[in-house]
């Protein structure tokens, strides 16, 4: 459905952020995009939305190049950026104007999200804190009912209760037609929501796998001092001994620890990928 094809892009002539980069999101689901600071996750989001012009290659959503910025396609896409700006009006005013552009905008859902986040629609945006404004933005995003939703660090700035609400709302929002891509550092906060995870390093995709696959092929455990397995892909000292990632040889799916997998993927990407590519 969403295909990034041989993308080459750089903000300056000297440095290219992406070169012949490809990634695809073939079906609906909640995708996690992980990567270190500055690797270009936000840039990738802007490229997907057609807001930046690549030097080469293209991004196509439902077969149409997003760079064309056709209103019909744009009405199916929405981004909740990390850095954002909302106008100095009342929440409901903003929603009213935005709703005209998104044919499936649901005011009911919008009000539901707002109340879940303990916000009132006739509050003025200027009086809200950053975290509250983020909640407004997220509520709007979910209310547009677009089938492509990008969220850049959505849980940043949300208080603990709101993070829970966020998960509940996103869980309800997911469907087979919808592609939701969440880029985040706070892996633990969205781990259980993800269908699929992509880990990117500068200009390469280190991991592109479903959570089910990861659970089948890797084991994540806490082991004692003398229990480090031979086929250990990554280990680090922990409260209980050592946290370990190894190839799953039990035949049962394990409880995935995405943070550990991330570290294993960064430190030991070759082996991690070999295991992922097995049994294809």
């Amino acid at each position: 459905m969403l295909k990034i094809d041989n993308l080459t892009f750089g903000y300056s002539r000297k440095k290219l952020n992406y070169e012949d980069f490809s990634l695809s999101f073939p079906k609906g689901g909640i995708y996690g995009l992980l990567g270190q600071n500055g690797v270009g996750k936000t840039t990738l989001f802007y490229l997907i939305m057609g807001m930046l012009t690549p030097k080469k290659g293209e991004v196509a959503y439902k077969g149409v190049n997003t760079l064309d910025a056709k209103p019909d396609l744009l009405s199916e896409m929405f981004i909740v950026p990390e850095e954002f700006d909302l106008p100095p009006v009342k929440i409901q005013t903003f929603a009213k104007h935005l709703s005209r552009f998104y044919p499936r905008f649901s005011n009911e859902e919008f009000l539901h999200c707002l109340s879940e986040f303990s916000l009132s629609p006739d509050e003025s945006i200027t009086k809200l804190s950053m975290g509250m404004r983020k909640k407004v933005y997220i509520s709007l995003a979910l209310a547009t009912n677009t089938n492509l939703l990008l969220m850049d660090e959505p849980t940043n700035g949300l208080d603990i209760m709101s993070k829970t609400k966020f998960r509940q709302l996103v869980s309800s929002y997911a469907s087979d037609e919808r592609i939701i891509i969440i880029s985040t550092h706070q892996v633990k906060e969205v781990e259980n929501l993800l269908d699929h995870v992509m880990i990117i390093e500068p200009n390469r995709v280190v991991v592109d796998a479903s959570l089910a696959d990861i659970a089948d092929k890797f084991s994540f455990a806490e082991v004692g001092q003398n229990e480090l397995p031979e086929n250990c892909l990554y280990s680090e000292p922990s409260v209980g001994g050592f946290s370990v990632v190894a190839e799953n040889q039990t035949g049962n799916p394990s409880l995935v620890d995405l943070e550990l997998l991330y570290k294993a993927a960064i430190m030991n990407s070759e082996q991690v990928n070999n295991i992922l590519n097995q049994n294809q």
Partner: protein, 128 residues
């Protein structure tokens, strides 16, 4: 070498639902909340809950009535208890045995210990 692995999420969810059933959260033959509602309540991906429901269906613990929803299967508690006993025998006991061997406790000493603690706690008789 023994890997103390934690159960996959969908397995934890099936355990949770079985736990709910054993505690009569849903009556026999009663309706279970939808996949989506369950997913939202515990803040996980609906596909994960779907997998859990599928497994419970395959075990006969819950049944699906198309267009209506999921219901508690006939004799669900019996099935669950059977699985719990199996898990007890296949996983908990071997671990226990390994433990007592490490500590040098004989099976007889273990039974004695259990009887002592049971009588002092006055636990109810073993169920059917």
């Amino acid at each position: 070498m023994k890997f103390k692995e934690q159960k996959a999420i969908y397995e934890q969810i099936t355990d949770r639902i079985c736990d709910e059933l054993m505690n009569d959260v849903y009556p026999e033959g009663g309706r279970i909340i939808s996949v989506r509602e369950y997913a939202a309540a515990i803040q996980v991906n609906p596909n994960t809950v779907m997998r859990a429901y599928d497994w419970l269906q395959s075990e006969g613990i819950i049944t699906l009535q198309r267009g209506v929803g999921y219901f508690v299967g006939k004799g669900a508690k019996r099935i669950i208890r059977k699985r719990m006993l199996e898990e007890f025998r296949k996983e908990y006991l071997p671990e226990l045995i390994s433990r007592i061997n490490t500590l040098g406790i004989t099976p007889e000493q273990l039974v004695e210990e259990i009887q002592e603690q049971t009588s002092s706690l006055a636990l109810p008789e073993g169920k059917e």
